[in-house]
């Protein structure tokens, strides 16, 4: 199963706001760790190593210069 990059989240604005709110009051280091915990939780949920590898690759490629 390849990484699914079609739009899948029904209300992106709400989820985006949720993500930003989760970082409220955190300093740079704590914020980074929150993101790290989030990544790990989601990675475990996905589980499939091929999908995770592809996600990492696409994430690296998608940075704007």
């Amino acid at each position: 199963m390849p990484l699914d990059t079609r739009p899948r989240v029904a209300d992106p604005d709400a989820i985006f706001a949720l993500l930003v709110e989760a970082h409220a009051g955190l300093d740079e280091a704590a914020s980074r760790r929150l993101d790290a915990r989030l990544v790990l939780l989601l990675m475990n949920h996905i589980g499939d190593e091929a999908v995770l590898r592809e996600a990492i690759r696409l994430a690296r490629e998608s940075a704007q210069a």
């Binding site: 280091a29 980074r32 760790r33 790290a36 915990r37 790990l40």
Partner: protein, 547 residues
């Protein structure tokens, strides 16, 4: 400083060649009377091969050094007659606890499978293992250990390795048909031959403090690992129990620490006291500060010179892969060299030592590098992920396998070896695996399967009743049955056959080092003969054409 152990001092040996001035000729010379060199000498002696072992020092390991002996290592020493002694003296442990900051993140059990003679791990000071190896080597009458014999030069010639050796009473030269370099991470032989030893340096330092804790204080027999504890902020600490009431404590110090300064008792004692708390009386036994590298030689076999143990490959201590890896090198090399020296195998069999032990070394280097990177994160991102894993591990079991405080040594499966005969049995011990142990009954007496496998010959392990089989020379049949049968071991639990993954009536060919060479649906002598030839690096005999 040590109070629980006094190093034996062995007398210097001055061989006749010092007086005669003539070169001495030997079949096998081993340089380095450490864990690996002595194991090789003892294993070769079990095959009837004499050797001379040269060591510049006059004693065994100073300090406890490699303390974790893994199951496969104990099985190898079981084959060599020292396993039970190690088990009896050693501390058997199976529980580990991981702490993050001031709380326990989780505990794990090594979950040893039932029905094996040896546990997953014991802790034993390296000097005990070496002292007993010296005794065992001397008892064979085939091993001559020459203490205070220092190799000062070496030449690797096509027909022999030439060694120049210094003793307290003069020098001599030794021509060895085979030179086994077991002279450690800073191998003189390797450097004298100009062989590059490449890899990664880790910018970190660790303090080992062995302490004797007052017997009145109860500490559980467990492995405790702390990430960022309050008593040693920002670093890791490992606590492990050894025999004689000695505890090993490893403090991560960071790269900027001054090794000489950190070794001073005035510096070490407060560190230990902060960790153990005010009510635990202790005395320092041994202190060492180390940094480490993960690296290896491109090849271990160089003409007449063969490298084993730390001289061939070096790993970080996380996972106990240095000593255990080296002992497996010896286990792999001894029977091959013996077969070559007896003319049963072509010298090219020794190439399989490279083919089998280089991937094993790479596996150890990979695991110990990953553990090191987890313990000492190199970037802010790595640290954030490391800490995130530890945060999650407390609550979620899924994150616990992500915690890497050292992946504890497991035996290498020599899966890609050219000596294996591939098969298609589902599961069980695939060719290249070390033989799994299993409980058996030998004429009604409780026994272990591994005690009957390998050694000086190949074993055709047949899961069926005893019968006459025409096997190649050097292969001994061993029958294992489902019911109590005279002349066979009784697999009363059924574990033996299940663990090898062969059907009833099937067979397994095991090498002298107890590794699976081939598996068969039935003990066809021709198929066993072909697999045996292959495992000795000989061209398989042509298959008889069906009439």
């Amino acid at each position: 400083m040590p109070t629980t152990y006094a190093n034996p001092r062995y007398p210097a040996v001055v061989p006749a060649a010092v007086r005669s001035g003539r070169p001495e000729h030997r079949q096998v010379a081993i340089v380095g009377a450490g864990l690996v060199g002595l194991t090789l000498a003892l294993d070769l002696a079990s095959h009837g091969i004499p050797s001379v072992v040269l060591d510049e020092d006059d004693t065994v390991s100073f300090g406890s050094r490699a303390i974790c002996f893994a199951k496969r290592t104990l099985e190898i020493y079981g084959r060599l007659g020292l396993g039970r002694r190690m088990l009896e003296k050693g501390i058997t442990w199976k529980t580990g606890r991981v702490f993050h900051r001031d709380t326990e993140a989780y505990a794990f059990d090594l979950l040893p499978e039932e029905g094996h003679e040896y546990p997953a791990f014991i802790n034993l000071q390296q000097y005990y293992a070496e002292e007993w190896l010296v005794e065992a080597c001397n008892a064979t009458g085939l091993v001559e250990i020459r203490w205070r014999n220092r190799v000062s030069a070496v030449e690797n010639r096509p027909e022999a390795a030439h060694l120049w050796v210094e003793t307290p009473e003069g020098d001599y030269t030794l021509h060895a048909e085979w030179l086994l370099a077991c002279d450690g991470a800073r191998s003189f032989i390797r450097e004298a031959l100009g062989l590059p030893f490449e890899g990664k340096v880790f910018r970190d330092r660790f303090l080992i403090a062995d302490v004797v804790i007052d017997k009145a204080v109860e500490f559980p027999t467990e492995r405790w690992f702390w990430f960022d504890p309050p008593f040693h902020p920002g670093q890791s600490v490992l606590l492990h129990k050894q025999p004689d009431g000695v505890w090993r404590i490893d403090f991560q110090l960071g790269w900027d620490a001054d090794p000489e300064e950190e070794k001073r008792p005035e510096k070490v004692i407060p560190r230990v006291a902060a960790m153990l708390g005010p009510d635990v009386p202790f005395a320092l036994e041994w202190v060492s500060v180390y940094s480490f590298r993960c690296r290896r030689l491109a090849r271990f076999v160089h003409g007449r010179t063969i490298f084993a143990g730390d001289s061939a490959h070096q790993v970080s201590p996380f996972g106990a892969r240095g000593g255990n890896g080296g002992v497996q090198d010896a286990d792999n090399l001894a029977w091959k060299l013996a077969a070559v020296l007896r003319g049963e195998a072509p010298p090219s069999l020794l190439e399989s030592y490279d083919a089998e032990r280089i991937p094993a070394a790479d596996e150890n280097i990979l695991h110990s590098t990953r553990a090191t990177d987890f313990i000492t994160p190199k970037t802010p991102a790595a640290r954030a992920y490391r800490d995130a894993v530890l945060d999650l591990a407390r609550r979620f079991p899924f994150a616990r396998p992500w915690v890497n405080s050292g992946r504890l040594s497991r035996p290498a499966v020599l899966a890609g070896s050219p000596l294996n005969t591939p098969d298609s049995f589902p599961g069980g011990a695939v060719p290249g695996s070390p033989a799994p142990d299993a409980p058996v009954l030998d004429a009604g007496r409780a026994d272990w399967l591994l005690r009957h496998l390998g050694g000086t010959r190949f074993t055709a392990l047949v899961f069926g009743p005893p019968r006459a089989l025409t096997l190649p020379q050097g292969v001994v049949a061993l029958f294992v049955t489902e019911a109590d049968t005279p002349g066979a071991l009784w697999d009363h639990s059924g574990l033996a056959r299940a663990r090898f993954g062969v059907p009833a009536g099937g067979a397994v060919l095991l090498r002298p080092d107890q590794h699976v060479a081939a598996r068969f649906a039935d003990p066809d002598p021709e198929a066993i003969g072909a697999a045996h030839a292959r495992a000795l690096g000989r061209a398989a005999p042509p298959l008889r054409r069906a009439a």
